[in-house]
């Protein structure tokens, strides 16, 4: 089919942009329902305490207060905040720890949810919170995972000895690493600690809920996976059927993985149930910071061996993950960390083990990259350390060990069908000026300000096929005017997926982009989909859209064939018009076909419509090389990123502007992760000190370096029009490439994120102490 693509590949404006620039877009907090109550949550001031008594009598007397709930009023069955866990295979789900209740009888971090109020307005609700008297029996807290694992440490969850929530082995351990290390010519090891990076989606969490008189629940929230959240509500929390819940997703103000968790929806639904009225629960930014979503802090030691010819021989990875007070996504992010990190390079001996530990700090979850940035920070530095020992150029060392098509992907059982990583590395290196700027190992640099250059590579998923239930469905119907409504259930949280799916739909059916109307965000209408995460939406949902679209096209062609009296295989559709391939001036509009199909008085009519489905069994990895040039002020320790280059194996950019937007946005989040975002909890009180944008610093517009994006486009056969996923990858290579550039500039490596000026100076001091002591002992 030599069809010209009129939408795919074009920088088309997304359909959700116009309402956003006019203020018409409706986010959760903009929604008003008649008779709506305001809900607010009472949070624990203590990091670890049993609630011995809650007296809400004074609060209940306050005029305008309609309900107050505590742990006594909520369902007793525990669940996990990770709604995404519903997509895990049952035997894997067994390993998920269900330790969450809507409201707890025990506070496990400062900010843990103790009670909730529904009142006529926020002011009354907040006054009521102040009147609730809670008696706490304070328990000794523990804030560090290593401390938490010591015998005698305070027990945070009953039955979890030494606060170990889970032990996880890498799913694809192989070979014998110890033997391989003994036989390796070179070994390098690096221990690194990432941070509890906060998502900082600009829209704070919000939910509305209403149980109608039939007992059917409607929830409104910026949820990334509403069909899965529905199941969690139905089967784990409220004991109702999936058909008894309708989940509506309004416009979403950013997600980045935070909205894969059940946030304030359970509390909101509970308040709505008790009051019989619609309830809206909102939280302040301070509450969000001391809350239920952030990256999990994963300390890992990676040891790597290689031979003098530069072949990697063995990798050993040991991780301690600080889950925070509840399990949530900490298990899956750690597992994915190991998968993506240990599966990147060709290596016959791999050992990965992880321990997930509870601490009395805010709950963590999944954040863009989902374990990949955590692992990359450590792995890509070990790789450079090994390259230095061997005396090999970091570019060359990586090129020698990356996998090629036919070998296993990072998800070992599935072979790599497509990989352009080598091209990404070469193009990125050229663009940053690697040959001119990398002076070799051990080059001494002079001056107060020193420049350095560093790189990092990664692989990521286009959906977690083989690991998660990667199942998407789409529906399309034609209108009488030949336009189409596309019904899909990703989560449009800003990535532009609605536009991308419309472009895919348009070119699949031969319609114009502007003739695709998108319907999304209502589980009563949309078919099952696991939502947007794992960078899956373009690849998996795109394929489901193509499935539905091809069926529509076939229906149209068959009807057109009857009308034109020419067989369908001699026809095609372009820009809303069916035409005869051999004689294009002959044809009929799709509008006419669609209209006449409905307004058919021969009793043979139908509404042209179709559903499409796609299940992916592969991660169809995308790849990326990142290159950073930095300038380090050796007197202040400040690292300035001069330039950052991204070369990404995208398969095909359905909308290049969107792809750039994802990569640029991810890169700037990566910049914050690398340099300025420091989530600090007071080690004495457990209070979150990083509780606002004043104390937790994400990059501002003046902080961005020059960013260049190179899209390496070679279509992957299994992707819709050859596309791979790209939602998450932008973030992963930033911190490690800056870390490697830092080493190139000043010979210092930092073992924890963020790489602050304070740590840089400490590193410089330690380095000069080492070298000076070496001089004296000579």
């Amino acid at each position: 089919m030599a069809q010209e693509l009129t939408s795919v590949g074009k920088r088309l404006p997304r359909p959700d942009a116009a309402p956003k620039v006019t203020g018409a877009a409706e986010y959760g907090s903009d929604i008003k329902l008649p008779g709506m109550l305001a809900g607010r949550i009472l949070r624990s001031p203590y990091p670890h305490a049993k609630i011995t008594k809650i007296d809400a009598s004074q609060a209940k007397k306050l005029p305008g207060v309609e309900a107050i709930i505590t742990f006594e009023d909520v369902p007793k069955s525990p669940f996990t905040r990770s709604a995404m866990a519903e997509a895990l295979p049952p035997h894997v789900y067994e390993g998920e720890v269900l330790d969450q209740y809507i409201l707890s009888d025990k506070a496990r971090y400062v900010g843990d949810w103790v009670a909730a109020v529904a009142a006529i307005d926020v002011s009354t609700a907040e006054q009521a919170l102040d009147l609730i008297e809670v008696q706490y029996e304070q328990l000794p807290p523990v804030f560090d995972p290593v401390e938490a694992m010591k015998p005698g440490a305070p027990v945070i969850h009953e039955g979890k000895e030494r606060n170990i929530a889970a032990n996880i082995s890498h799913a694809f351990n192989c070979g014998d690493v110890e033997k391989a290390f003994q036989e390796s010519d070179y070994i390098a090891e690096f221990t690194g600690q990432n941070s509890k990076q906060k998502h900082c989606h600009l829209e704070p969490d919000v939910a509305l809920a209403y149980w109608d008189t039939d007992g059917r629940l409607t929830v409104w929230s910026p949820c990334q996976n509403p069909h899965l959240a529905k199941k969690a509500f139905a089967r784990r929390i409220f004991g109702i059927g999936e058909g008894d819940i309708r989940w509506i997703t309004p416009t979403v103000g950013g997600g980045f993985g935070a909205r894969l968790s059940l946030c304030v929806e359970p509390v909101c639904a509970m308040l709505a149930k008790v009051t019989g009225k619609p309830v809206k629960v909102e939280v302040t930014r301070e509450e969000d910071f001391a809350g239920w979503n952030s990256r999990t802090e994963q300390r890992q030691s990676i040891k790597m061996g290689a031979n003098k010819d530069g072949t990697i021989t063995a990798i050993r990875d040991r991780i301690i993950s600080d889950a925070g007070a509840y399990f949530s996504h900490s298990g899956t992010t750690t597992a994915v960390n190991m998968q993506m990190t240990l599966g990147l390079f060709r290596c016959p001996n791999i050992s990965g083990e992880a321990t997930i530990v509870y601490t009395n700090t805010p709950t963590t979850s999944g954040f863009r990259g989902y374990g990949n940035p955590e692992g990359a920070f450590v792995l890509q530095q070990v790789v450079d350390m090994l390259a230095e020992k061997i005396g090999k150029d970091p570019v060359e060392f990586r090129l020698k060990n990356i996998k090629t098509v036919g070998e296993s992907s990072f998800f070992i059982p599935v072979p790599l069908e497509h990989c352009r990583l080598e091209q990404c590395i070469r193009l990125g290196a050229e663009r940053i000026g690697w040959k001119e700027k990398w002076g070799g190992w051990g080059k001494k640099k002079e001056g107060r300000k020193r420049r350095g250059i560093g790189m990092s590579i990664m692989n990521h998923s286009s959906g977690a096929g083989g690991f998660l239930l990667e199942h998407s469905n789409a529906a399309i119907k034609l209108h009488e005017d030949g336009s189409a409504t596309l019904i899909v259930s990703p989560c449009e949280m800003g990535q532009g997926i609605l536009g991308v799916l419309s472009q895919i739909a348009a070119d699949t059916m031969g319609l114009r982009y502007e003739d695709i109307h998108v319907m999304t965000g209502d589980t009563d209408v949309t078919l099952f989909d696991i939502g947007s995460h794992a960078s899956r939406s373009t690849y998996v949902i795109g394929n489901a859209v193509m499935d539905a679209g091809s069926k529509i096209k076939r229906q149209v062609l068959e009807l057109a064939a009857e009308k034109l009296k020419i067989s369908a295989d001699k026809l095609d559709i372009e820009e809303g018009r069916v035409y005869v391939q051999a004689a294009p001036q002959e044809g009929v509009s799709v509008a006419e076909i669609s209209h006449d199909a409905i307004y058919n008085y021969e009793l043979t009519g139908a509404h042209i419509s179709a559903t499409g489905s796609f299940q992916s069994g592969t991660h169809c990895p995308n790849f990326q090389a990142g290159f950073a040039e930095v300038e380090v002020d050796t007197e202040t320790g400040v690292i300035k990123v001069i330039k950052y280059v991204i070369a990404h194996d995208i398969g095909r950019a359905i909308n290049p502007q969107n792809v750039e937007g994802q990569l640029e946005g991810g890169a700037v989040q990566g910049l914050g992760y690398a340099l300025s975002e420091d989530f600090i909890v007071d080690k004495r009180t457990g209070e979150t000190l990083s509780d606002s944008f004043a104390t937790y610093k994400i990059p501002s517009i003046l902080d961005i370096p020059e960013i260049e994006v190179i899209l390496v486009e070679e279509p992957v056969p299994s992707g819709p029009f050859g596309a791979k996923g790209v939602g998450e990858p932008g973030i992963t290579n930033v911190a490690p490439s800056i870390a490697n550039a830092l080493y190139d500039a000043i010979g210092v490596r930092i073992h924890s994120l963020p790489m602050t000026p304070e740590k840089v100076l400490e590193g410089l001091k330690a380095k000069s102490l080492k070298s000076s002591s070496f001089r004296t002992t000579r």
Binding site: H201, L202, G254, R285, A694
Partner: protein, 161 residues
């Protein structure tokens, strides 16, 4: 608690609202006037999402007592387009991919308008300095700067600014 009947001029229209001194301008705009385009994102004055223009100047409505905004000319995002014709900044944001989740967008656009009203020929650095009080977590800012510069050029060439 003294309630007063206050006059607000928003987007060229007069409103009468019952307010109390402790009410924030953002809440009067959103809850009383139904102008939900202005967004509450941090409440500490660090993110700029709540920016509206008062007498042409960008201010943070989440830290402004409504009572101090009486009788002043307030412009919210809803007042920027002329009927169905988008302001060049709005159009540029769409065209250049400067809108992702959109939560920072109304504040960002209004702050950009204040910049272009004051300085119609900004450099890239001028744009960044003017928007440094507006945080965005989605776009990485690159296309926002592109959009504002494109809008400036469009306005110079006679697009209605």
């Amino acid at each position: 608690m003294i309630k007063e009947l206050a006059n607000f001029k928003v987007n060229g229209r007069l409103y009468e609202v019952i307010i109390e001194p402790h009410m924030l301008l953002i809440d009067v705009l959103r809850d009383k006037l139904g102008l939900t385009g202005v967004k509450y994102a941090c409440g500490t004055g660090d993110c700029g999402a709540c920016t509206v223009l008062v007498d042409g100047k960008p201010i943070l409505s989440c830290l402004t007592l409504a009572v101090t905004a009486k009788n002043k000319n307030i412009l919210t995002i809803e007042g920027l387009a002329q009927g169905n014709t988008l302001h060049p900044i709005q159009q540029a944001f769409i065209d250049h991919g400067a809108v992702q989740c959109g939560f920072c967008t109304p504040g960002m656009i209004l702050t950009a308008k204040a910049l272009l009203d004051e300085n119609p020929t900004p450099t890239r650095e001028d744009v960044k300095a003017a928007l440094d009080g507006n945080l965005c977590r989605c776009t990485g800012y690159v296309k926002i700067v592109d959009a504002v510069l494109a809008a400036a050029e469009r306005i110079r060439k006679g697009g209605k600014g």
